[in-house]
């Protein structure tokens, strides 16, 4: 039975939600930004995109292009709620669905589309439900695999619906620039261009041995992508986490040790709490530092035993920090716990460890009951928490479900 995959992509998601919530923003160039002082644009409305204002630009750049641009501080909880509700719409049509990111989902409707009048009927029904429930538009791409479904969605934006059947994929890919293909980034596209491969057709016709020679094991995958072949199944069950990490761009560049330590403690608590919630413990801690000139580096250490204790994570990251002579002010800090084990059977044997585990359990229980950060570490009290940015890998459930205000 030929596979039928649907890709649903919400058009300018955050901006569309804000335009729907506030009618005064509708039809106007709007950019969604974070609440931090040094934020960048996370989404721009189609009205803003017409002027070349894109995700990742800073406020100054956008204002220079269009002084009348409207900036709206994003409300992450509004977006995560909408994503969760959309998942319920998708689940009406198939149990095999993957929420790929906050604004993109894949549905495998191979075995169910006949129940709903076919793939296009499902696409139309999803678009209608999303519009009715949230007042926003989405684009639906349908194809024989994830790659073609995503491509069908990308070329039909905004508010489009397109099915690309297997037999039509060849003609579509023949002259399509490789950079338009999902999964081929600017660097790979550049390398391919240097090998005189500019279109998907050329990529598909290139000898596998040649591509393997140039790109290693990835070469064969690239050839298949050029031919519109993509064998990755949908990830319908969240996979086990390989790491739990958080990073933050600080409100201002800092060099004061005490302040850096306070942020490390906050990051350690965020990681520890998430790891404990999902019953992970890890053995490796890495610390990432970005200086004010954007030079970024990471250092890591392996602990003698697995942990998800905030203080253990903090102490390890502090030890790494103490081994570094900082040459400049710090712009970004990141801490990551890896080499994870889920549900370790080891119980704390030392009284001290048992006591600490009990304290953490009590703090977590209180924060679960009354909300995050109701009980926080004293040394972080004087720092104001600002809302974070939703990670591209955010998921509505599992360890990648990070609560961002």
């Amino acid at each position: 039975m030929p596979r039928v995959i649907i890709c649903v992509d919400i058009d300018a998601f955050f901006a569309s939600v804000e335009q729907q919530a506030n009618p005064a923003l509708r039809g106007k160039p709007v950019c969604i930004i974070g609440s931090g002082g040094r934020t960048v644009i996370t989404t721009s409305s189609y009205e803003a995109r017409k002027y070349g204002i894109k995700t990742g630009m800073n406020i100054r750049e956008a204002k220079k292009i269009l002084p009348s641009i409207i900036f709206v501080i994003g409300d992450n909880e509004k977006y995560t709620h909408t994503c969760r509700e959309m998942e319920k719409i998708y689940a009406r049509f198939t149990p095999d669905l993957e929420i790929y990111s906050i604004d993109e989902a894949f549905l495998d409707i191979t075995t169910t589309h006949h129940l709903f009048g076919g793939p296009e009927a499902i696409g139309t029904a999803i678009k209608k439900s999303v519009k009715e429930m949230f007042g926003i538009n989405c684009t639906v791409g349908i194809g024989p695999n994830i790659l073609i479904a995503k491509l069908a969605s990308d070329i039909s934006k905004p508010d489009g619906l397109r099915q690309v059947r297997s037999q039509e994929a060849d003609a579509l890919l023949r002259d399509l620039p490789v950079k338009e293909l999902w999964g081929i980034g600017p660097k790979t596209a550049q390398r391919l261009a240097s090998l005189r491969i500019k279109t998907c057709g050329e990529l598909g016709r290139a000898p596998a041995s040649f591509l393997r020679d140039k790109f290693g094991i990835h070469g064969e995958t690239l050839k298949k992508m050029g031919m519109g072949i993509w064998e990755r199944p949908l990830q319908t069950i969240p996979e086990d986490a390989k790491s739990v990490g958080h990073s933050m761009t600080l409100p201002r560049d800092i060099h004061e040790r005490e302040e850096i330590e306070a942020y490390l403690l906050l990051l350690s608590e965020m990681i520890g709490r998430r790891a404990r919630k999902h019953r992970y413990m890890g053995k490796k801690i890495s610390l990432t530092i970005r200086y004010s000139d954007f030079e970024t580096f990471s250092r890591q250490t392996t602990l003698p035993r697995i942990t998800n204790d905030t203080h253990g994570i903090f102490q390890a990251s502090l030890n790494i920090l103490n081994s570094i002579r900082l040459r400049d002010k710090v712009r970004l800090l990141g801490v990551c716990l890896s080499c994870l084990i889920r549900d370790p059977l080891q119980i704390p044997l030392i009284t001290e460890d048992r006591k600490r585990s009990a304290v953490l359990h009590a703090v977590d229980t209180i924060n679960d009951r009354y909300g995050d950060f109701r009980i926080i570490w004293g040394s972080y009290l004087k720092h104001k928490r600002h809302s974070g940015v939703i990670s591209p890998s955010w998921k509505p459930s599992g360890v990648k479900n990070v609560h961002v205000k």
Partner: protein, 79 residues
């Protein structure tokens, strides 16, 4: 503008997500909800909090209903 005040609200309660604020009292006035432009749910600990972007025809308000305390709050407004 952030407000963060408890307010009195007349609302109709139906199925989940069918809580509809109808009118509310704030700053000595009774304001009619003419349109609910967006609704979303958040968690405050174990409590669900329902948020509504509403308009009285001239101003946008964000109202929030905490299902734990059964309190309504006016979170913010934008003229």
């Amino acid at each position: 503008m952030r407000v963060g005040e408890h307010i009195s609200v007349i609302a109709s309660f139906g199925r989940p997500y069918r809580i509809r604020p109808v009118r509310f009292r704030w700053s000595g006035q009774i304001l009619e909800v003419r349109e609910i432009t967006y609704a979303w749910k958040t968690k405050q600990g174990i409590n669900d909090v329902y948020h509504f972007s509403v308009s009285d025809g001239t101003t946008m308000y964000e109202l929030a209903f905490d299902t734990g305390s059964l309190n309504w709050r006016l979170e913010s407004l934008e003229a």
